[in-house]
Amino acid sequence: MIVMALSACVTLVACKEPVETRREPTNDMKARGLAAIERAGCGSCHKIPGLDWPAGRLGPSLEGFDDVGLIAGALPNRPDVLAAFIRNAPGVKPGSTMPPMPVSASEAEDIAAYLYGIDHD
């Protein structure tokens, strides 16, 4: 069992190298990102790893977000794009049903760092 799980990990790592643009964020950034997520209330629509409550279901779960392809199925998967999307989703993806959120530019960067740095599996 353990051997199977291990080999599964090994193959996963082997076929999904972290993309260059996905920096390894500092722990500081991640902590600030999670604090901003809690303060803004992103959990009222998303299930977010590291956040027990709230875990709303109106929006997609952000579990394993570091492995998604396109952001919201539309935008290139880059930290700067993600930060812009978090602040003003309908502005960068016309028609997006995620409302603009009241977070500052630097908070959005921290949140993006947090979401990318969840787990590098």
């Binding site: 209330g41 875990a55 109106l58 049903t97 995620m98 530019a105």
Partner: protein, 344 residues
């Protein structure tokens, strides 16, 4: 927000007013006394195990039991009871007549807030947020609409039960401006842990501004509840990051929101002063746009959390008495949120 209860020092040891200062005095005295008693017990234990035989015999004698086991606790506890009750008597002192009065009713699982006139009639309705001026004692008339709740804003006063069919009194006062979190402190069913509120203490000047704002808001609501107050952007912070006015109206149109609010059943449970919405089962929404929190002190209040709450409150606060509106589209939820943000 309930968050305001965390951190160091704990609010009970960080009083923000004269009533809570008494509770703090009592708390420290109890801690100190507890330490003394613990020291005595440890000393006695040491004697009982390692002390000389003569001392051991004394400790086990009848005299020691009468003195240490009956007289000492009897005297100390009686003294403590009398002192504690005298010290905190002013917290529940009855109404003299000239105080500011607010009625707070515990409901499963939120707080109804009614500002009272001098003659006790309701002057203004609100929910989950209590505004008071700094330096003025405020009498709270505590009631319950269903089961026993307990009102506790530790920075400002002690705890007091809210009992169905009875009115209890509790005084609060702040000596500094600030936001002080409060909670229900008596288990009252499934969502007890998510039943909170915020007390906002304003200094003199700010208090007058707040009062004037409330009156203006009420007047505007009476004229036209769906009107978008010109120029007041619901988006705080730097504007360039946000969509243009036209884009906003497409997705978040308060007038459409008003119609949806009236047509979707919200008005049967919620009141908005000046409109036809006069339901009483849920929190008054006349000033919901100015609230610090949503869901009774549990979520920040912004467009996202507003949409999230209306569309999916059952995931956020399972079993709460508002249905999730997942029959509405995201756009419709956005319209309603835009409308509610203007109710301030």
């Amino acid at each position: 927000m309930i968050d305001a209860l965390w951190g160091w020092p704990p609010p009970v040891l960080d009083p923000a007013g004269p009533y809570s200062a008494k509770v703090t005095t009592l708390s420290w005295s109890l801690f100190a006394l507890g330490l003394v008693v613990t020291a005595i017990v440890v000393a006695a234990l040491y004697v009982a195990i390692k002390g000389p035989d003569r001392w051991k015999a004394k400790l086990g004698g009848e005299r020691a039991i009468w003195l240490g086991g009956v007289a000492f606790p009897g005297v100390v506890l009686t003294g403590l009871l009398i002192w504690g009750l005298t010290l905190t008597a002013s917290l529940t002192e009855s109404i003299r007549g000239d105080e500011m009065r607010i009625r707070v009713t515990g409901e499963m699982w939120w707080f109804r807030v009614q500002y009272l006139d001098a003659d006790g009639s309701v002057a203004m309705e609100d929910a989950n947020e209590i505004h008071i001026p700094v330096g003025v004692p405020v009498v709270l008339e505590l009631e319950s609409a269903d089961v026993i709740h307990s009102f506790w804003v530790p920075h400002l006063s002690g705890k007091k039960d809210m009992i169905p069919g009875r009115r209890t009194l509790l005084r609060i006062e702040a000596d500094r401006a600030g936001e002080f979190g409060g909670v229900c402190a008596e288990y009252c069913g499934g969502q007890h842990a998510l039943m909170g509120f915020v007390t906002v203490a304003h200094d003199r000047q700010e208090w007058n501004v707040w009062l004037a704002g409330r009156r203006a808001g009420a007047a505007q609501a009476a004229a036209s509840p769906a009107s978008a107050s010109e120029g007041a952007s619901p988006y705080p912070g730097d504007a360039d990051a946000y969509p243009t006015e036209a884009e906003l109206l497409e997705q978040y149109d308060p007038r459409a929101g008003y119609r949806l609010f009236m047509d979707s059943g919200c008005a049967a449970c919620h009141r908005i002063a000046g409109s036809d919405a006069n339901g009483l089962a849920g929190p008054d929404l006349t000033y919901v746009g100015s609230r610090r929190t949503l869901g009774a002190g549990i979520l920040a209040n912004n467009r996202g959390t507003m949409v999230g709450w209306i569309g999916d409150s059952q995931s956020l606060k399972p079993g709460n008495r508002m249905p999730s509106y997942d029959v509405l589209t995201a756009k419709e939820l956005g319209h309603i949120a835009a409308f509610l943000e203007l109710q301030r």
